[in-house]
Each structure stands twice: as C-alpha cells, then as structure tokens.
Amino acid sequence: MQRVAQSSLSTSVAGSYGSFKGGGSGSGSAAQVMVYEQFPAGLRVLVVDDDVTCLRIIEQMLHRCRYNVTTCSEAAVALNHLRERKGCFDVVLSDVHMPDMDGYKLLEHVGLEMDLPVIMMSADGRTSAVMKGIRHGACDYLIKPIREEELKNIWQHVVRKKWNENKELEHSSSLEENDRHKRGNDDAEYASSANEGAEGILKAQKKRGNAKDEDDGELENDDPSTSKKPRVVWSVELHQQFVSAVNQLGLDKAVPKRILELMNVPGLTRENVASHLQKFRLYLKRLSGVAQQQSGVSNTICGPVEPNVKLGSLGRFDIEALAASGQIPPQTLAALHAELLGRPTGNLIPAMDQPALLQALLQGPKHLPIEHGVAFGQPLIKCQSNISKHLQQSKLSSVEDVSSGFGAWTSNNLGTVGPSNNLVGLSAQNSNMLMDILQQQQQESQQQSMLPDPSCLINVQPSCLVVPSQSSANLQAGNNTASVSQNCYFNRSSVIDYSLLSPQSNNSSLNIGEFPNGGLNTTGVLSGYTAPGSISSSVSSSSVNADNSMGRQGQSSSVTFSAARQLPGLVPNMHDIQGSYTSKNGEMLDQGPLRNLGFAGKGTCIPSRFAVDEFESPMNNLGHGKLYVENSRVKQEPNVDFMDNTKVGIPILHQFSFNDVASVFTE
C-alpha cells in the first residue's frame, strides 16, 4: 500500500489477488492491469473526500471488499487523475461537500468526460439532498457513516451501466450471446456471467481508453462467432466518433468512405456509415430549419467541428447524467437519436396508462421510419403498471412493468428491451399511439397540467430514441398526483417520436410550438429554464416546469415541473425542435418546445440521444435545468442540446410520495 501525502492521490491495493500490476499513480492507461480472479474483486475505485478520516475508513472498507482503491482528498486532483488515466477506474465515490469543488460539479465532469458511474456520499441524509444527488445523475447516494456492506455492492453500478450499454449492441450484434448470458442468468450462473460481464467491462474500458472503439470493439471482439450483423448499433460513443469525423472532414466533404477511415472502427462498413450519414444530414437539415430562432443551433450544427463534437459528447453525458439516480445508463432520448442511430427502440416503454394507447399502439402504423419512431429501447418509464400491462399485452416487448415506477429503469428496461424485434414497428406504433393518446388527452384533460413525470421514467438508453412526448395530461390520463403515473408521460413522450407529438394536440400539452399552452413541456426543460416555483413544492430543482408550456401538464402532481407552468424560457428552444419535426411529420408538435429542448443554447448536434435527457431530467438533472421532457409533448429534437439547454431541472418527484420515489430507486 502506498500512501502519499494526504492531499495527493494514493492508491492502495487490497490484498494481492490476481496479477496486479502498477496501480500507482502516473502509469498509463495500461497501468492497472488487473486480472479479476473473482469479480467483483479488483474493481477499481476512486474515492474523493476532503475529510481524511472518512477517506481512510472508506479506503479500508474497500480493501476489505477486495477492491482496488485510489484515494484523493482534492476534487481537482481527482479529476486530473481521471483524465490522465482514462479507463483506469470503474467507479468513483465522491463526497458532496468539498472545499475546492462541489461534489456535483465533479459528478458532472466525470459523467461528461468519462462516463463512469459516480456514487455520492454525504453526512447529509435529508431527502432533498439525496434528491439533488439523483437529479445530478449520481448512481447512488450513500449517507455517512457508511457501512462496509454498502460499499460491497457498489460494483452493481458498474455492471449495470455496462450491461445497459451492451444492450444496445445486443440487438443487432453478436453480443446476443452475452445478452443471453446476462439476461438469462440465475443466481447460480451469475458469477460466471458476471465474470464475463466484468471482463467485458474491463476489456471495454481498456478498449475505450485506448481506441475509443468500445462499441465497435464489443461488437466485434467479444463474440468470436459473430457473423457480420446486418445492423450496427449506433451507440452514443459510436455516434460521437462519427460526428467528430464529420466535423473533421467538414460536412460538405464528409463522404462515407472518408468518415469510415477516420472513425477507424473495425467491423463498420461503408454502407453503415452512409446510411447513418444520410440520416444525420436530414437531421441537420431539420435543425437548421428550426434553428432560426436559436442562434446557436445552426452555428453549432454547421459550425466548426468542435462544437459539434462537443455537443455530441455533452448530449451524451448530459443524458447520462440525467439518467435518473444513476441507475440508468445515460440514455439519449431524442428521437433524433434514434433516428440517427437507426436503432429501433426495443422497448418502447410507453407508459401510457390508457388502453387507448395500447390500441393506438397496436394499431399504429408499422412502418414508421425509425427516425420518427421513438426509440426507447429501454427504460423508460415504468410508470404505470397498467400501462405496462397493457403494453405488454400489446406485444410491446419493451414494455416494462411499471410497477416500480422508477426503479425499473435500467434494469428493467434492459430486460424488456430484449429483443428489439421489430423495434421500428414498435416505435411506429408507439408514435401512433402516442399521438392518439395525446390527442385524447388533450381533449380530455385540458386543465390538467400533468407533467409527465419525467423523472419517472426516463431511462432512456442512448440507443433508444426517446421522444419526449408531450407530457401533458394527455398521456397521463389522469395521473396527477402520483408522479409515478406521471412517468407515463414521459414514456409517452419518449416513445413518441417527435413526429407523433403532433401538432394536433391542440391542447396545450402537445403543442410544442405553443408554449404558453405549456405543451411543450419538454422544451421548457431544455432551455434551462428554471421555472419558478410552480412546481410542487417540494421540487426544489430548478427544473423548469416543463409544464409550463403545457398547461396540461399540470396534473402531474408533482413534481416536476412545476408543471403547468409556463416555461417561457424554454419555449423558444422548443420551437426549433418542433420546427424540425413538423417538416418531417407535418403533424409534429410545434417546434417551439423542441427548440428549447435541444437547441437552446447549444445547438446540439446530436440528436435524440439527448433528448432523453431532457425528459429524464427530473431525475437526472444534471443540475441544468433540464426539464423533463415528458411534460412537454415536445418532441424532442434528438439531441437537442439537452445538456446545454436544459437547465431546467425538473423538479422531480416532488409530489411523489416517498414510496413512489423509493420504488423508483429500488431496483
């Protein structure tokens, strides 16, 4: 064990298991080559806490868990360490109150730059504090004094995140094998599969650190029996690589062949890139059309490479950060994302509570282009059990049991997502469903300003495009109070692709364009609008009341968004978004909201993915006021720069009863 000066980094290894090499500071990414004899032993943890007493205690506890521990008493130093040695850590434990940097800031950085699960710690166990942690995207929140048992289980966050990411790949890749492993394991098999998973994770991480090929790598490397899959899963990372390649070449000169070369992803074909590029161009076109209002948007989109790349990464991180309670891997919601990724959302988790939704869903068009479809592969909302039931009945494979409301996010989604079979169809259906629902909702619940409980559900995985559906009461049909039910909103939104959000919603809820209606809930969120109080009292987050835009939203009891409030700020953004959609679908929601969603400010380049964030925000809120997209029917422009824009925090959960909330977090 080497102990360095207190303020510096110190790494100690718990026992000597496996063949451990390096582990000191400063070796390259290859320094920590650990062979895990028995997962989760060897998990590489970075602990950051200015309280040296706690630091020492936690270090000792982690050693007892046979983890590989690196401690640091200064956040800035920790961040540097993480940056220098990307891929060298599996999870970060950080204190909330630190003198040199707020724990949440660190959390944001880590989420954005390294995509690692971050667990917060604090002596402050107040609900509001924990809530804040969740909103900022922490995977977990531990209250001091911390017990060893709690630390023993932190590996689950690492695995979960990995698996969720893998899920995307599973659909179309040879990882199906792994998928089977993962999903079909019972306790007995768990260890071995966990090992696999762990190794996969480790491998992936190293790969990521080295080649940034993680997704592709996994696609290709982990499964020797792979036969070229017909479909490539455009994960967040992959898409980012794509975007950076395009940026580098310049949009005009970006030809598939060159992009492919720059990306240098094994297994990716020119055709994959070409089709993705086509979608991307369309996306950009929409954005630029919509971006009039958003000054930044067009620029970013067409602008210098950097912004684009940034956006992409931001979006991803943002979404991730948004991932509620950290349980869920960051998932990009935006329909655009789905669009771009061309990935059907496996799990449309529409939380529609209404049978109508199901109907709609079932009857929905089968062929909505992916772009339009909502791709949620996973998570999403668990909001309402009935909905899920319905959905399930309706053959939506993705529908997860809503029962737990939030909890389900990650894990559930994954499970349900499972076969993405006919995702496209699903999404299509969903969108239709959503639309129908929305319409119905609108008619029925004018007053209700239900905010889709964004927090609820969004568990959007990057692969899925979550279309923020106008939360408005429409979807919810009546859940006002329970935030959980609200979730449905979210789902709805998420499920619905933008197109669906359809302008039809005359009611406030959907009209994205019409902010005042509060339709756009989502957008509101995005624009970093911090809605004034309106939201249920408890919601402390700045989250914008997504509701604002949508009058409807109100309902949602709670949370979030102060729902019904108008998010004036947000609206503008949304417009952009909407605009884009309408062009596409015609019906789409007014852009207004959308604009906010993504474009606000940053002009996200990356589609949809981030949209999810928007919705999720309540939970995940990175602290930006991201609004929970749910509320607004807004269609989320994929990738709207959620990250940037949404400053709207979605007051989440406020209204939920503690149980609801708790259930969300329980796996």
């Binding site: 026992g15 200015d50 309280d51 040296v52 007493t53 706690c54 020492r56 205690i57 000792q60 506890m61 050693h63 007892r64 204190d95 109150h97 003198p99 604090s122 002596a123 402050d124 001091k144 004094p145 911390i146 017990r147 060893e148």
Partner: protein, 146 residues
C-alpha cells in the same frame, strides 16, 4: 497473565462504558472490525487522523464565529464536516452536538452557535481522553503479550 486478564477486563469495561454513555456507537465497532493483520493499528490510525482534523475544524469554527460579520455558511460547512467525520468513527455525542449546531447555523443564531462551539469543544475533549485511555490499555495489553 494476571496482569493481562486484568488489563483486558479493564479494556472491556471501558469500552462498554463508552458505549453505554453514548460516547461511542456501533460505528466504532465497525472500525474495530476493519482492523486486521494488514492494518493492525487501523483504529488508532483513524482516530489520530480524526483528532488532528477535529482540532483544525474546531479552531476554524471558533475563528469564523469571531469575525465581525459572521459567515454562517462557512461555520456550517465546518460543522458539517465535523459531523461527517465524527459519525464515521462513531463519536455519537460529538455528532449529536454537531446536528444541533447546524440548526443554529441555519437560524444564524450567533449566541447559540457560540454555545454549541463550547459544547463541542467539551465533548470532543472528553472523548479524546476516553479514547486515549482505551488505547493505552490496548498498548499495555499488547506489550504484555496480548
């Protein structure tokens, strides 16, 4: 042998006393459990760190409260930290005073804050003495072959 068992008995009694009187809680036991061959002086090590930290925090608190214009947020930050570290080692009484202290910080009640500082100093000193006694016993036990 006699000495040893006597020492051990004293050690046990003192530990029980500290627990009973609320100076220490379960968390301290957790610390003791964490001590093993690879870290044979773990408890003493951690408690020493705690003592060092505490003294710094206490003096910071006092200084902050002496300012013309008291920055209660700053005081609260110190108290919060102290609360965290005392909770981590199981110093229950100290922790409880911290909890009370924080309320007064929030209320910006200078007088009560000053009172709490004194109380905190007191509880901390008592705890320190108690623990040092306990550690001395331990050392003696070890010296005697235990």
């Amino acid at each position: 042998m006699d000495v040893m068992s006597q020492l051990q008995r004293q050690w046990l009694e003192h530990s029980a006393f500290l627990r009973k009187e609320g100076y220490l809680d379960d968390q301290f036991e957790q610390l003791q459990k964490l001590q093993d061959e690879s870290s044979p002086d773990f408890v003493i090590e951690v408690v020493s760190i705690f003592f060092d930290d505490s003294e710094k925090l206490l003096s910071n608190m006092a200084r902050a409260l002496e300012q013309k214009v008291v920055d209660f947020k700053q005081v609260d930050a110190h108290v919060h930290q102290f609360k965290g570290s005392s909770a981590s080692i199981g110093a229950m009484r100290v922790k409880n005073v911290c909890i009370e202290f924080r309320n007064y910080c929030e209320a910006q009640n200078l007088e009560e804050c000053l009172r709490c500082t004194r109380k905190l100093q007191f509880e901390y000193s008592v705890l320190k003495n108690q623990l040092e006694y306990l550690f001395r016993l331990e050392q003696q036990i070890r010296a005697a072959g235990g």
